[in-house]
């Protein structure tokens, strides 16, 4: 076989592998979309696969979610939005300032140890924290509040942000900042007017990753909240356990509403997100 033919065969095999794995990833998503348009009858006898062919799609699950039970769903949805956005913003401001400081100032030659100290948080299993958090927030009277989740999620996101942003700021030229300071700008102005805008791609990546992390988190939310402050993942599992009998179509509609915003954001910012996700290992 000639080289060109060999190469063509390899390309065809590659596309087959990619197509196969894409299908594996696609099928569950397809399933949840069609299920959200199914009626009880379409799921009571056997599996149905194709809308209009083996079942007649209907909008009743979406009607149920957005019309009949909107208020009941809106609370956890708003909790998730508020908790995710506030905790990520707090973490971004505090974490990137620290990342900047560790990139620009000298802390007695211990900068790397400080960063490692931050990262050591990742080694600790979440199970280690939930018991202490439960007692801490109970003593503070913060159980079942959004504030408790905001505190935990911001502190959870800060180490990662410090780590990524320190590296990002180190890659920026220091001369621009120095000349701005010679012109009379102070450090705060330099950070917010010069360094942060230049580091925008990194900031976007870590912000969206923190947002997704907070949006999807379950174990801490399960431990600390139970009624008023519940987030979407918790709300979903409560539906399953409360009804016992699962209303698949309604659950599918809720899943989609909870998944679409983060998946869309993540995929739209693919370049930055992949960079943020793979950052650690590429450095190590």
């Amino acid at each position: 076989m000639g080289l060109a033919a060999q190469k063509r065969v390899r390309t065809i095999i590659s596309y087959c592998i990619l197509g196969f794995w894409s299908f594996i990833l696609l099928f569950p998503m397809y399933w949840v979309v069609i299920t959200s348009f199914k009626n009880a009858i379409d799921m009571s006898i056997k599996a149905t696969y194709m809308p209009f062919i083996d079942f007649q799609p209907g909008l009743h699950a979406w009607h149920y979610l957005f019309v009949d039970r909107l208020t009941w769903f809106l609370d956890p949805f708003m909790n998730s939005v508020l908790v995710a956005f506030i905790s990520s913003t707090v973490a971004l401001v505090i974490g990137s300032s620290a990342g900047y400081a560790l990139a620009r100032f000298d802390y007695g030659g211990r900068n790397n140890s400080i960063v490692l100290g931050f990262m050591s948080q990742r080694m600790f299993p979440g199970a280690l924290f939930i018991l202490a958090f439960l007692v801490m927030f109970r003593e503070l009277g913060l159980l079942d509040t959004r504030l408790a989740l905001i505190i935990v999620y911001s502190s959870g996101a800060i180490p990662f942000i410090v780590w990524v942003m320190r590296d990002f700021f180190e890659g920026l030229p220091v001369e621009i900042e120095e000349s701005a300071m010679i012109d009379g700008a102070n450090r705060l102005g330099v950070l917010f007017r010069i360094a942060m805008p230049l580091a925008a791609p990194g900031l976007v990546a870590v912000f969206v990753l923190s947002l997704i992390g907070a949006w999807n988190e379950y174990l801490v939310a399960l431990t600390l909240t139970f009624r008023e402050a519940i987030t979407i993942p918790l709300f979903m599992t409560m539906q399953v356990s409360q009804t016992g009998y699962t209303e698949w179509w309604n659950m599918s509609a809720i899943s989609l509403v909870s998944v679409i915003p983060v998946v869309a954001a993540g995929m739209a910012l693919e370049k930055y997100i992949t960079g943020g996700l793979t950052f650690g290992a590429l450095k190590g």
Binding site: Q121, V262, M267, E270
Partner: protein, 308 residues
């Protein structure tokens, strides 16, 4: 010209006086938050592990130190060892599968040019979905025993439907499938980044020297992608040891205790049962295992790669 560099440093102290303040203002909030929310729980849990602390007795001031009693209880607790075994089995099932899928798909992805960005973006999707939703969609819906599509397809080919959630073994397989579905993407993207760091002229040179593709893969690609692969594996192994959310949603640890992980056991003991002391000792057991394992892994892989 020679004096110019000296003018500059002489101006610096003025900025550094101001910066000595900013230097701390920027760093201290992050350090303070992490100290409070990392160090306090870690130390408190350590303390709790040596006491008889119980959630419903906090504030009674009669908490006693019990020495190593919790750890003795732990080591002789068959139910805990069962969860430890489940966790290890889960890890040994998912990590190699993710490595194989990750490497295969990453090689395919590295081999094409048209549509590469499209596939890369699509492969990111599972990583954005919450484990709860994944467990619900992939797990509860697809593996549903009566009308789920997987059993339906199996039956249409003449097989028996698999008791996915009622059989201990198959429930574990279903959980592994969920984790593989979600996290293979992580290996794919990491390994793709590694593969793209391999200079193409190396393969060209090897081909000119008469090496075949397999030799070129084993002698050039594998050693060069090894460091990233090892780090990615370590991250996945540690995450697999901490598995809990998909189990809570899919099986709740059942049938019986067949799929209960260590983290789920800690949640059950400490949060649900209120036995903070025993829960804390389990959490520390998990931490110690992770640290020994992670440390040994790093030392061994560094040594192995140093020899290459």
């Amino acid at each position: 010209m020679a004096t110019e560099p000296q003018v500059y440093p002489s101006k610096r102290p003025r900025f550094e006086i101001r910066d000595n303040l900013w230097k701390w203002i920027f760093l201290v909030p992050a350090v303070a938050i992490i100290l409070i929310l990392l160090a306090v729980p870690v130390l408190w849990t350590l303390y709790a592990a040596f006491t008889d602390l119980h959630l419903y007795r906090i504030g009674d001031f009669d908490t006693k130190f019990v020495g190593l009693a919790n750890f003795e209880k732990l080591l002789s607790n068959r139910s805990f060892w069962r969860t430890a075994r489940n966790t290890v089995v889960f890890m040994l099932g998912v990590v190699p599968a993710q490595l194989i899928i990750g490497l295969t798909v990453a090689l395919a992805l590295n081999n094409i040019t048209r549509g590469q960005k499209l596939f890369r973006t699509w492969f990111l999707m599972p990583l954005m979905v919450s484990p709860v939703v994944v467990s619900f969609i992939v797990g509860r819906m697809l593996f549903q025993e009566d009308i789920g599509p997987i059993n339906d397809i199996l039956r249409s080919f003449g097989f028996e439907g698999v008791p996915w959630l009622t059989s201990p073994t198959w429930a574990m397989v279903a959980l592994m499938a969920i984790d593989v579905w979600q996290w293979s993407s992580f290996m794919i993207l990491m390994l793709l980044a590694a593969l793209q760091g391999v200079p193409p002229d190396l393969h060209e040179a090897a081909r000119v020297d008469g090496a075949n593709q397999l030799q070129s893969f084993w002698r050039i690609t594998v050693p060069l992608i090894m460091p990233i692969t090892m780090t990615a594996l370590l991250i996945r192994i540690i995450d697999a040891f901490k598995v809990v959310e998909i189990i809570m949603v899919l099986t709740g640890g059942g049938p019986g205790q067949a799929t209960e992980s260590v983290t789920l056991a800690i949640y059950r003991t400490g949060v649900k049962g209120g036995d903070l002391a025993f829960g804390s000792s389990q959490a520390y057991f998990l931490l110690i295992v992770l640290m020994i394992f992670g440390g040994a892994y790093l030392v061994l892989t560094r040594r192995a790669m140093g020899k290459d």
